[in-house]
């Protein structure tokens, strides 16, 4: 599927999505310096607090899959959810505000990076628990079917998630009910500081999915042309009432597990090889091959950076949520009974 034809306009649109994600991740990373205490980092404050999981280097998966989604399709994400959100149509400014913990963020400052969500575009939320999005996606797909309309759910998770129980349970559930779910394993080869391969028996994600009755494809997740084509094929099958499908997208986590992780546990060689496969670079080459010009991509990059810079400025200027907001959106029954 590597030599897929693609219109230049579509290719540039995909590139734009990737460039916007990259710019966002870079800015978020910068703003998180001195943040969460782990990997030996200090407790000092930063503008973006708490664990920040960057999807730098994985942009092609989010961009390629989401390009095949309709506005009424739903999406569940992981702790590493910025790319999915942007690709599904979330506003970069409101996302950045959320990461900065501002009242103007998507979650009003209640969620932050790990819970970023934009229900208005069908993005049902990042999740701090590995694999937790899988059953939620399956249930959402069930709801879509009960309610009618032909939409589907894209369910993203990492390679580490395929070793948690909900992977088996969720795929089986989607299989028996033939639910409209596209399972996307974003395989960046690492689970925090652990090489996932050493923790995974058997033939890997796709083989497992197939054995549980969910057919699919394994692709180079850094090649946006390939991801786009695979996602197009699989979503078409799902929309034709074919039941769930599986996309195993192999990519690489260029940064550490969280922004403050220097990732000293992996070899320079490995990282260097991976950097040669940078999805934006690859896309630029591919686009050149179908007649695109570098200057257009450079302009897209610049635009993305400007958009993100504006978002950072807006986030910086936005108000923190007032204390009273801590007490809203918990539950209606017994609201106000905080300490008795």
């Amino acid at each position: 599927m590597s030599e897929t034809a693609m219109s230049l306009a579509h290719a540039q649109a995909l590139y734009r999505t990737m460039a916007r994600i990259r710019a966002f991740e870079n800015a978020a990373e910068e703003a998180s310096k001195g943040g969460v205490a782990a990997f030996g980092a200090s407790l000092a404050q930063a503008k973006v607090r708490g664990p920040l999981h960057l999807s730098t280097g994985q942009e092609a998966v989010a961009a390629g899959v989401c390009a095949q989604l309709r506005a009424d399709d739903l999406l569940t994400s992981t702790h590493r959810g910025h790319g999915h959100s942007i690709a599904k149509g979330a506003s970069i400014e409101r996302m950045m505000c959320e990461l900065f913990g501002r009242a103007t963020g998507y979650n009003g400052g209640k969620g932050g990076s790990m819970h970023i969500a934009d229900f208005s575009v069908g993005m049902l939320g990042a999740n701090g628990v590995v694999a937790a999005g899988i059953p939620i996606a399956v249930g959402a797909a069930h709801a879509l079917r009960v309610r009618g309309g032909g939409a589907l759910v894209a369910c993203f998770f990492g390679d580490g998630a395929i070793n948690r129980g909900p992977f088996l349970e969720g795929l089986n559930w989607a299989g028996i009910h033939r639910l409209p779910v596209l399972f996307v394993c974003e395989d960046n080869r690492w689970s925090a500081t652990t090489a996932t391969g050493a923790m995974t028996a058997g033939e890997g994600a796709l083989a497992r999915a197939q054995a549980i009755g969910v057919p699919g494809l394994a692709v180079n997740g850094n090649d946006i042309f390939v991801v786009d084509a695979a996602a197009a094929a699989l979503t078409a099958q799902i929309r034709a009432h074919g039941g769930p499908r599986f996309l195993h997208a192999v990519t690489y986590r260029i940064k550490g597990h969280v922004s403050v992780d220097a990732a000293g546990y992996r070899s320079h060689d490995e990282v260097a090889r991976a950097l040669e496969q940078d999805p934006l670079e690859l896309a630029a080459i591919r686009i050149a091959a179908i007649g695109g010009v570098r200057a257009v991509l450079a302009a897209i990059d610049a635009e993305a950076q400007a958009e993100v810079a504006a978002a950072v400025a807006a986030a910086d200027a936005a108000p923190s949520p007032p204390d009273a907001e801590a007490y809203t959106d918990i539950q209606d029954t017994g609201a106000g009974r905080w300490r008795d």
Partner: protein, 322 residues
């Protein structure tokens, strides 16, 4: 009015809710054949397999899928068989169902009812006998309900399904067969206790199956001139502070009795609030902190009996009311 068992009463409430609202669905193991306690009898025949959904033995995903359903607009009623098995779905209950609305800043809500029957169940031993209501009372975002009668298992289930919050709904396994006349049209209000017997010496707060032992204890107490006011809490969170306090203003003495392990049980919360606020004498009676044994002699040790309740009530009554 019809004579219904506790199981039938809940079935009747669910039937009505599904009839009224096409977004209500039920899911869980064996629900298609009526559920092993008969609490779903006939529903799949009436509403079809798309709304009364048989599931694999996948508790985590049953609960997680229900969260997804709820976020996407359905109102799922989730069957966990017993709370002991719901332990396989604690991430989904605590990290997902309870927190989604808050985490996402109110963008979504999780109006689900998770049925997790509690309690002893003659000879079912350590893994099928737990009462864990206090766990859920401790978790922000959750409502916790524990009906003690067929009427309540109809009216409270109806209220739980209508409620927009995630509700942990805890039936008692030794009550399934209990029968009474039930007004199936009656919907209760969550958070409102019922004074099941008026009295003047001691306020006895309880819930679920222990209510019936509490009433027996109150009966026996009367014979010896001790007057117990018995309050059935019905909703554990939010508990009905007003009704309990009103009673205490009269009796000035509190006893909380429940089947759950006493240590760290929800009785501690009520006793603590009352001690902090009114300063009246308080006592609790729950199970000893031991697993439930299989042999009837061992199981009996973990039961909170009418005799034990009465004996603690007697001691309490001797204390000067403050």
């Amino acid at each position: 009015m019809a004579r219904l068992s506790y199981a039938q009463a809940s079935c009747s409430a669910l039937h009505a809710a599904m009839q009224q609202d096409a977004l209500v669905v039920a899911l869980g193991e064996d629900v298609g054949r009526g559920g092993v306690f008969g609490q779903y009898r006939g529903l799949q025949q009436t509403f079809g397999a798309e709304r009364v959904i048989d599931t694999p033995i996948s508790e985590a995903t049953i609960m997680g899928a229900a969260v997804g359903m709820a976020l996407a607009g359905l109102r799922p009623v989730v069957e966990m068989r017993v709370v002991d098995f719901a332990l396989c779905a604690m991430d989904e209950v605590v990290n997902q169902a309870a927190k989604a609305r808050y985490m996402f800043g109110g963008q979504g809500r999780v109006p689900l009812v998770a049925r997790m029957p509690i309690g002893l169940w003659q000879g079912s031993a350590a893994q099928h006998s737990q009462s864990l209501e206090t766990w859920f009372a401790h978790i922000p975002g959750l409502v916790v309900v524990a009906p003690a009668t067929p009427q309540d298992n109809c009216g409270l289930l109806a209220a739980a399904i209508a409620c927009g919050d995630p509700v942990i709904y805890m039936e008692h396994k030794e009550l399934w067969g209990l029968e009474e006349e039930v007004d199936a049209a009656r919907v209760e209000r969550l958070g409102v206790a019922a004074v099941r017997r008026a009295g003047s010496d001691v306020t006895l707060v309880t819930w679920s199956r222990t209510l019936h032992d509490a009433l027996r204890a109150a009966e026996a107490a009367q014979a010896e001139g001790l007057s117990l006011e018995v309050i059935d809490l019905r909703t554990i969170w939010p508990w009905d502070r007003e009704t309990v306090f009103a009673s205490l203003r009269k009796t000035r003495r509190l006893l909380v009795a429940h089947e759950a392990v006493q240590v760290g049980g929800f009785g501690a919360e009520i006793a603590a609030v009352v001690a902090e606020t009114l300063g009246v004498p308080v006592r609790r009676l729950g199970a000893p902190r031991i697993p439930v044994g299989y042999a009837s002699s061992l199981e009996a040790v973990t039961r909170v009996t009418p005799e034990a309740i009465l004996s603690v009530a007697r001691e309490l009554a001797k204390k000067p009311a403050r």
